[in-house]
Symmetry: C2
Subunit: 332 residues, 2 copies
DNA sequence: TTCGTGAGTGTTACCGTTCTCAACGTGATC
DNA sequence: GATCACGTTGAGAACGGTAACACTCACGAA
């Protein structure tokens, strides 16, 4: 910077003003400085800037160290939006969604002076850990099923509505009731899907079948599917996500139950290839990239008014049903 | 830091020595400093450290802004290894695998003083762009099918061997020849799989069927599958990846060709749920997380000996065949 | 004429580290 | 007993920016 100043015949401060688009610089001077910067191929040193301003133009993301579809796709939504806003994105992953590992991740990001944090927070442990983040560090939680009283903004998909959509769709097709291949019971999102499903059945006066705990992958779905396939009265299944649905589909196939002729199946997520399952899966679509963008917008807004006393907004993203070929009417 | 020094009754320099594990500090002094640090809850300011040392303890990753399975999983391998080595990971994604966007990403990372870059480089444009990175910035490319003369280390899976494994497996089962549902022709990895496939057929004296250009997803696989299903002589198909295989599977099913009874199918990647396709997919497994770790190790090594005149290592990871239920013997 | 005002610019201090080098024991060596 | 090496410590100057403030000048109002 000193060299640029010398070459342009101005003080380093004027150079600083130019790079920061300060208004009070004569056009002619600005041009001279810009020319000097170009000819010296000058790039501002962000570390020095960070040191002086305590602002790094870097955002932190806390993710879960497992290849779950949702979180992955959100990363890209966040990153591209962050780039547009002039921020770089750093990621810290946690091996386990527990208090301590998350705190550690926050600490690591804080040491690197991130200006704000977006946490993929599917379990409450993450959210509570986040409340212990250093004061003044803006946080946004995305995912999970918040209590509504978080001290920071959240973005979530409306899982209850999504589950309701799926269940009602099956009911409308004439199924007496709908069985559920659930996710892990200690994940609020899985629980919210159970709730939406149960409520809908209850409202329709349908029997509410028992559920058993699962996980998010096809292996778990397969187990659930075997259990359900063993029961000849099962004609409709709502799976907690598409991967589970894949396992269910296979279990049904193995026991000779045709989909959708004998049993209808609905998933959740609308993963890229679920339209090519056998049969193509009817599912509840959620736009993860969009959620990432929303989270980022919220974070930037939160950072801008750090002392904002207004209650933190809780964005609820509406999912919608994608009709494909895994569901069919039932006439009994 | 000044406060810590004052509390411990030493100079700031001694505090610095303590945090950097400098040997020449009396044990008693060190203890006193550590105690002071603890009681003041001191954290070193990394921005200041970066400014002084030109070392940020941050690594950059250049990724492709699309949810392809491979790159995703690598990120986690890289991140957790980086964390263990005391580095934070920043990501810069590119919307398009072309020269200019990649250079822009490099620039963005360089501005933030990353100590090194790992680029997910499935296409040569990324690699060549990388050669224009600022001198002294260590780079590692992972993926693609390098020319072998890159000025920096690379990590790649041995696609040719993988394809050979798949093709030979089908040949060994008694199939007269093997058809290929190819990926995008301008991706070296897809091309290498074509090469391995073709070589194997050639070596076995089998007919080499024509291929048509595709993409990496199930939709493209479905198209390929329809084309292949129309030809009654097709009894074995090697798909360039698992998602393509999924589409192929469905196309075959739709045209009444049973898998594996009528047609055998092999995939590539071993995605998490491919064991639950219908039927469970025999595929070529590659360990993306491990590749990420290897890439990181290479990068750290490369950074340590920045002036290393020794030729950059090109790590080739061996894939292996996972046998499941989508292939069967053929007796003609 | 005098003064205030605001645009344009420069001066100096400061952000929190590490680096360089000098200084101060202390014990071993001659 | 002087010298020397070495372990231990401290003082001051970087590192490359930004913030705060002072200064100059031109212009319009009193």
């Amino acid at each position: 910077m000193r060299d640029v100043a010398k070459l342009a015949g101005v003080s380093h401060q004027t150079v600083s003003r130019v790079i920061n688009d300060h208004p009070n610089v004569r056009t002619e001077t600005r041009e001279r400085v810009l020319a000097a910067m170009r000819s010296l191929n000058y790039r501002r040193n962000l570390a020095a800037r960070t040191l002086a301003t305590r602002e790094s133009r870097t955002l932190g993301i806390i993710g879960f160290e497992t290849t779950l579809f949702g979180p992955e796709s959100m990363l890209y939504g966040i990153e591209s939006a962050a780039r547009a806003a002039g921020y770089l994105v750093s990621v810290a992953t946690v091996r386990e969604l527990a208090h301590h590992p998350v705190l550690e991740a926050v600490d690591r990001l804080a040491q690197h002076d991130v200006d704000g944090i977006i946490a993929i927070a599917p379990k409450p442990a993450v959210t509570t850990a986040l409340t212990h983040a250093p004061a003044g560090l803006a946080c946004v939680a995305v995912g999970g099923s918040g209590s509504g009283v978080e001290p920071f903004p959240t973005v979530r998909v409306d899982n209850v509505t999504g589950a309701r959509l799926a269940t009602q769709h099956l009911l409308d097709l004439g199924h007496a009731t709908v069985h559920h291949a659930a996710g892990p019971p200690d994940w609020p999102e899985a629980q919210a899907r159970v709730d939406g499903w149960r409520e809908t059945l209850y409202a329709a006066g349908a029997v509410v079948p028992a559920i058993s705990p699962g996980w998010w992958d096809a292996a778990a779905g397969y187990e659930q599917g075997r259990r359900l396939a063993a029961d000849p009265s099962v004609t409709a299944i709502f799976a907690a996500n598409d991967r589970i649905a894949l396992g269910v589909l296979r279990a049904l196939h193995e026991s000779g139950r045709r989909v959708p002729d004998d049993v209808s199946v609905v998933g959740f997520d609308d993963m890229p290839d679920s339209g090519y399952f056998m049969p193509p899966l009817t599912t509840v679509h959620q736009d993860f990239a969009e959620m990432g963008r929303r989270a980022l917008a919220l974070l930037l807004h939160h950072m801008a008014r750090a002392d904002g006393a207004d209650p933190p907004p809780n964005v609820l993203v509406a999912p919608d049903l994608v009709l494909r070929a895994s569901t069919a009417p039932r006439f009994d």
